[in-house]
């Protein structure tokens, strides 16, 4: 099988192919001979955070497993843009069954591999936040509870993007979606906790839970690699901005992911057997406005007048994360 050669090379302190680093410290993507799970030519929107996140996660897993892996995918953008028959962008054994059953299908694959004595082949399941936090939640919890030998990666773009940007249980408060329009006295999504799956995963006391974002792809790669080397149920929740659904510029994907983290809205941490083992401190704290302002889904918080009250509630949610995970030294 032939692999596509690497075409681009990034530089900079946070970027992946960091040539300023020692060769040993450089990551999977920095080498020309890197594994390549998802070929170019798939049909994701320009600037799609999910395509980027999935690619780096899968490449890292491919590297870590020496290509001995099977991928199970839930229905959603990632599945649709990567496998329009008769084409496929996947260079790994890949299977899609349904929207809500990816964790269970992965359990079945893992069981089959165990019976066949192929312990070296690792199973990875992936889905969007809808497939993970809503319709597939029962199957995912079952998979966690049984501690099945599967790494599940959720690409959280905070809504059902594939069906046209409807609310999911991971949609943040006040966000406008097609089913939470910016109308009425409390426009956008209702204020509430949202469903923060990493903490629910932790409550299952599984060996490894981590969050990551496409703003720090080195970190994402490292976490995937770490998770790949463990056994049992593992969960990585990756924040992947969606230019289309968030109403943002395609060139702002990485910036948005970074602002989500630096505002405290999306904490980056790792947990082992239910306890947080490491949280990534915020380097340059920013108010939530900076994150919200760049997105049309929050436009109603700023126009025609600035809704200071509702922005303050979002700020309080960020502050609570900052305190809870000790994100500021």
């Amino acid at each position: 099988m032939s692999f596509q050669p690497v075409r681009f090379y990034q530089t900079g302190t946070y970027t992946v192919g960091n040539r300023l680093l020692d060769e040993a410290q450089r990551t999977v993507q920095a080498t020309v001979a890197r594994a390549n799970s998802l070929t170019s030519g798939h049909r994701a929107c320009q600037g799609c955070g999910e395509a980027l996140g999935a690619r780096y996660a899968m490449d890292a897993a491919m590297h870590a497993t020496d290509r001995q892996m099977v991928v199970v995918n839930a229905t959603g953008c990632l599945e649709v843009f990567s496998t329009p028959y008769p084409e496929t962008s996947w260079q790994v054994p890949w299977m899609h069954s349904l929207f809500g059953n990816a964790p269970a299908v992965a359990t079945g694959v893992a069981a089959a591999l165990r019976v066949k004595g192929r312990r070296n082949v690792r199973v990875i399941a992936q889905g969007g936040d809808g497939g993970t936090t809503d319709i597939g939640f029962g199957c995912l919890s079952g998979m966690f509870e049984r501690n099945d030998d599967v790494l599940y990666i959720c690409y959280d773009n905070e809504a059902y993007m594939n069906t046209g940007v409807q609310r999911s249980s991971a949609t943040p408060a006040a966000a406008r979606t097609a089913t939470t329009p910016a109308m009425g006295p409390a426009p956008g999504n209702e204020f509430g906790q949202g469903k923060f799956l990493p903490e629910i995963a932790m409550a299952h006391r599984i060996p490894y839970v981590a969050t990551a974002s496409v703003a720090d792809l080195r970190d994402l790669e490292a976490k995937v690699e770490e998770a790949t080397h463990l056994r049992g149920a593992r969960y990585i929740h990756v924040l992947v901005p969606c230019p289309l659904g968030w109403g943002a510029a395609s060139s702002d994907t990485i910036r948005l992911a970074r602002l989500a983290t630096e505002s405290g809205l999306f904490p980056i941490f790792e947990a082992r057997f239910g306890d947080v083992s490491e949280a990534r401190p915020i380097r340059r704290p920013v108010p939530v406005d900076e994150f919200l302002r760049l997105q049309k889904r929050f436009a109603h918080l700023f126009e025609p007048t600035i809704d200071t009250e509702r922005i303050a509630v979002i700020q309080a949610q960020a502050d609570r994360n900052i305190k809870r995970y000790a994100l500021l030294p």
Partner: protein
């Protein structure tokens, strides 16, 4: 080896002899004894190597089987009733992906009103899902059909449901011949997947297919089901040569040749029907039986040939299409197109109502006299229904029908006393 054994246990032993590699199920009556027995056999190492996965729902159970099958393992599950409907999305998916999973359906009614007893509403609801459907007449056949089912499924790369009547078969103790492992091994080779999730040769399974190819994919599924029409009799013949007894096939006939009135049915009710038919034949009645063993694919030609000389056909159905009538009779009418043979639907035994020889005899006599309606319900309490309907006209208030019906029936039985 002959054993006096519960139907569920017999099926579990048959499945075990087929060397499943992944078993995954969620409990529901009357399927539970099958999967309990299997989980025990996996624990004791009687089935090895095999993974028994306890899951959180039927939807997950079949999904696990889907993953296991796609990764090259022989996969098995079992369910019934609400469980089958709960996994419905995955049921269609398994056949669309061409995965040779075998699933036992311990047939049971579907709620509401909730009812755990036997009829065929569950498997019939999924008759168009692309699975093959085989119906067992007794526990020996249930056992034998499972062995054939794996071979059939894997030969065609399509999933197979083996349907057996809940409680009536699953919980009945009968003498059953359980074959040796060597014999089953000689009949059933190991599973060789058509397409496999293998890192050494990556494929994408389950891609998104648009209008340009979807019809063709569906047509192929149909064509493969039609191949089963030839394959099923072949496998049944091979089975009888190997195991020394008959089981399965598309249809089976019982004194139906030359009979004026032919009773058509599937499942365990055939035993009772045959008893009644024997008695009527002893009186000289021209009556016979046609058993449908394979309901999907529906054996149109075989049925047409078997019934071509009949004067009338009576279908005993253990399910029905609400707002329409008989499900099996519909297929039958299609098989008999142009032959002008009156086909009567008799809906019987819904929700476990016993189908007695007395009722059947009365029914068959009515049929023989040419006085049977096109659609009727065996032992229907027409009085109770009429009273509820009358009440509904008077009191324009909605509410659970079942409660009122039960009250009406209770009141009626008090009056009889």
């Amino acid at each position: 080896m002959l054993k006096q054994i519960e139907g569920s246990r017999a099926v579990a032993e048959a499945v075990a002899l087929c060397r499943p590699e992944v078993i995954c199920a969620y409990p529901i009556s009357p399927q539970t004894h099958i999967v309990e027995a299997l989980s025990e056999m996996v624990r004791t190492g009687d089935i090895w190597p095999c993974e028994y996965i306890n899951v959180e729902s039927e939807f997950a159970a079949l999904s696990v089987a889907i993953g296991a099958s796609a990764a090259g393992a022989r996969a098995y599950t079992a369910t019934a009733s609400q469980g089958l409907l709960f996994m419905a999305e995955a049921v269609f998916n398994a056949s669309g992906l061409g995965l040779p999973i075998v699933m036992t359906i311990a047939n049971r009614a579907i709620g509401a009103p909730i009812n755990i007893w036997n009829d065929h509403s569950d498997s019939m609801a999924l008759r168009d899902s692309g699975w093959l459907q085989l119906f067992a007449e007794n526990n020996q056949e249930a056992l034998d059909l499972h062995i054939q089912a794996f071979k059939l499924a894997e030969a065609l790369s399509l999933p197979v449901m083996v349907c057996m009547d809940g409680f009536i078969l699953t919980h009945a103790y009968e003498r059953v011949d359980i074959p040796s492992q060597a014999l089953v091994d000689s009949y059933l080779p190991p599973y060789e997947p058509r397409q496999l999730l293998d890192p050494d040769d990556p494929v994408s399974i389950g891609a998104m297919v648009g209008p340009e190819a979807f019809t063709e994919v569906r047509y192929l599924a149909h064509a493969r089901q039609l191949q089963a029409l030839a394959l099923i009799p072949e496998l049944a013949l091979e089975f009888s040569q190997c195991f020394g007894r008959e089981a399965g096939g598309l249809i089976s006939e019982y004194h139906s040749e030359g009979a004026d009135t032919v009773i058509v049915a599937l499942g365990s009710v055939l035993g009772t029907i045959k008893d009644v038919v024997d008695a009527l034949r002893a009186e000289g009645a021209s009556i016979g039986v046609l058993a449908i063993k394979t309901f999907r694919p529906f054996p149109l030609d075989a049925v047409r040939e078997a019934l071509a000389q009949a004067k009338r056909v009576v279908v005993i159905e253990r399910s029905f299409a609400i707002g329409q009538g008989g499900i099996v009779a519909d297929s039958l009418r299609k098989a008999l197109a142009g032959l002008h043979i009156p086909t009567h639907t008799v809906v019987a035994g819904l929700g476990g109502r016993p189908i007695t020889t007395v009722s059947l005899e009365r029914l068959f006599r009515t049929a023989l006299a040419g006085a049977l309606a096109s659609l009727s319900f065996l032992d229907l309490d027409q009085g109770a229904v009429d009273r509820v309907l009358a009440h509904e006209r008077e009191v324009r208030r909605s509410g659970p029908l079942a409660n009122r019906m039960v009250q009406e029936i209770a009141r009626a039985s008090v009056r009889i006393e």
